[in-house]
């Protein structure tokens, strides 16, 4: 499990209390949000936690516990109000403000991610990409032109990118990470097969697709 950060919780008494949220809890918030948005699309206004959990194969007790960390959401005997709860969770996830992504490395994976629906939807937009390959620099990709990696700092400043996406080979990952940090992004999603550690100012999410393959291989070999 990755490192956790401190958040704030206001207990019933009203006093503020420091608590830590694990990435796993945060990932579950995303799942609750999707379920609620799906229900809202279907015109469902209210749902009990049991029904919500059952329909979306969630753990009802864990969901109640997760949500209770962030405040009082459910109404006893009535359940959750779908639209307000969805909005509240979107707010918790920081989705009420726009996030701009810059991609380092536009090989197969990087260029796919630049056009990936999930990275260009709701609060997220890929706004810039860089590479060092002269064949790639200057090419059109989505709504922008691929820049040279040496201009990363300026591109981040001009585009307002706050999240970097590392899609470079393992050998270039550490150097490109340092450049992203120096350019001022506040978080990095790292697809290179090299585990990077967060710095004092930059959050890191390592997404290692190869590890997912090895995980299924492990269970296949049982």
């Amino acid at each position: 499990v990755s490192p956790v950060r401190r958040g704030r919780k206001t207990p019933p008494g009203g006093a503020s209390l420091e608590v830590e949220f694990s990435p796993l809890t945060v990932n579950r918030l995303s799942l609750y949000l999707r379920a609620l948005l799906h229900l809202r699309e279907q015109g469902v206004a209210r749902i009990s936690s049991q029904d919500l959990a059952h329909r979306y194969r969630l753990n009802a007790a864990l969901m109640r516990k997760d949500l209770a960390q962030f405040g009082e959401f459910g109404i006893r005997g009535v359940g959750y109000e779908v639209a307000p709860l969805a909005e509240r969770i979107a707010g918790l996830l920081g989705l009420e403000r726009a996030h701009a992504l810059v991609i380092c490395g536009v090989g197969n994976l990087g260029s796919a991610l630049a056009r990936y629906w999930g990275f260009n939807h709701g609060s997220f937009r890929v706004v810039a990409a860089v590479d060092t390959d002269p064949q790639k620099v200057g090419k059109r990709l989505g709504s922008f032109t691929v820049g040279h990696a040496r201009d990363l700092k300026r591109l981040v400043r001009e585009s307002g990118a706050d999240i970097g996406v590392l899609a470079v080979p393992e050998s270039a990952a550490a150097e490109n990470f340092a450049e992203l940090v120096a350019a001022g992004v506040r978080a990095v999603i790292n697809f290179a097969p090299l585990r990077l550690e967060a710095t004092a100012h930059v959050r890191v999410k390592n997404v290692d697709l190869r590890i997912s393959l090895e995980e299924v291989a492990f269970f296949l070999s049982r």
Copy 2:
């Protein structure tokens, strides 16, 4: 945390005991393996668990506990033998045999994954891909030609694919998953933003890239 499967452990007494391995433990085995392969490349023959943990920013106590679940690896006062331990972990991860991947959906992400180094390296190879789009069917992709989704069963049989990769839109995910299950793959890596559940015979790994984005957005908003 995803569901766990049963494995076997032989305790000191020699009797066999059923234990469960969590995906998180299995993911850590991948990290240990990478560290050991890196050391082997550098010609390191033996290393203490403290030194190994320190160099690769691993948790030494957790690593000893993880490895102890699978047998006796370290030698007291000497540490780990790098090459034999790497081989043993590769064996535990099922990497001593070849795994063939079939990709469903060759949009941006699917076609990038088909050519992705991490999916075409060591024991893993992408051997087939399908789509329903006539513009894509028949196109060359890596070492094969994209087939039509209606021929999935035959393609899986002919190519010997044991792992399916779902890279279709959310709306097509459930149907394509059912087709992969019917075609006889034993595991599915699902990139669609719809959580799929394992069946009695098919392991599922949900890899939701959007959730990773939302996770960093959460921590950025603190």
